[in-house]
Symmetry: C3
Subunit: 146 residues, 3 copies
């Protein structure tokens, strides 16, 4: 376990429109606002896309992701962390739980999901931290380094 200490900076309350693609639109916004590191919460509707829900085999590295399609409109609650990649672009790692009747999916929104009707997000800027997402050869992912 490693940690880096910082402070809260700006706070943004965000309204997402029907069709807005996550996490892309929040990453674009973070770049426009020069948010390097931060925390995101998400409350709203998701109407399509895919969620990564674990690796196919738990003991295989690099992992082979299980993609679950989002079929129909789901309620979503999510939490994520923004940190810059090696080129300084803010990358949002956001996990969420999605529900539609008895169907529930919990996973990573990385492949891209689409806002259904409306979603609300809050972005907290975290300043003064030393954090970056750097390529990890073993897993094939960009992993947070602090």
């Amino acid at each position: 376990m490693k940690a880096t200490e910082g402070k809260i900076g700006r706070v943004f309350v965000v309204r997402l429109e029907d069709g807005d693609v996550l996490p892309d639109c929040l990453e674009k916004f973070a770049k426009e606002k020069s948010i390097q590191c931060g925390h995101v919460i998400l409350v709203g509707g998701i109407g399509g896309g895919e969620v990564v829900a674990g690796p196919r085999r738990s003991d295989e590295i690099p992992p082979d992701p299980v993609y679950m399609p989002v079929k129909g409109a789901y309620e979503v609650v999510g939490v994520g962390v923004i940190a810059p990649d090696k080129d300084g672009n803010p990358v949002l790692h956001i996990h969420a739980s999605l529900g539609r009747g008895e169907n529930v999916l919990t996973g990573c929104l990385r492949p891209g999901v689409t806002t259904w009707l409306v979603a609300e997000a809050i972005i907290y800027e975290i300043t003064g931290v030393n954090a970056q997402r750097l390529p990890d050869d073993k897993s094939g992912f960009d992993l947070l380094e602090v």
Copy 2:
């Protein structure tokens, strides 16, 4: 996507008692404390009520909500956004995932759910933002405008 910028204000750590109804009790508290906008996290037990888990038909506007009853005591983790309605009353839009053994529900707590034994919440006041929940004729919901 639209956004409004603000700052963190007061922070409240809240203990909910058995039987306290969500989101009502947190909205009443927000009103008493003159919290207009904010962010809520919820960790605890839920023993009854209903959750909205998506619309019956994903392509029908206005949506016909699917109400899922909460039968028995569930663990809950939730995240929400407070913003005032057109009359200036703080309204909490909170989504959560609830688990009881193999049963999981993820949805919106708007219809009202009841605290089982105990729950903990944190309320972050967000000041300086321009956000409001205004009636949307098309969907029939109050939607966040920023």
Copy 3:
């Protein structure tokens, strides 16, 4: 419902390593950093351990917890509250939703779960609040008192 008012203090962005046990490692970190009260968010992978998902019987006090084993690697999204116990040690009460393909578990991480590959956490220190986890004879749990 009872509440105590405070402010945001330090913020820590944390990288958890494969095998790190939650909530233990974050409680140890909180103690090292003299964080008494706080808020934690968690995004990452979980590869083992157990989750408490409700009581066996909803109307029985003290409750008999339902332990659900975590079999294989799951995606996780969690939120928790740190408050000191009667001896002043920070205790993290964290609930999370875990997903692996169609399998979803939502519950309390108290029995201990193990990080798979990587996880990210943010810890917000909350200062100036009067909150403690004290033994409750009836339920047999330490409950948050504010």
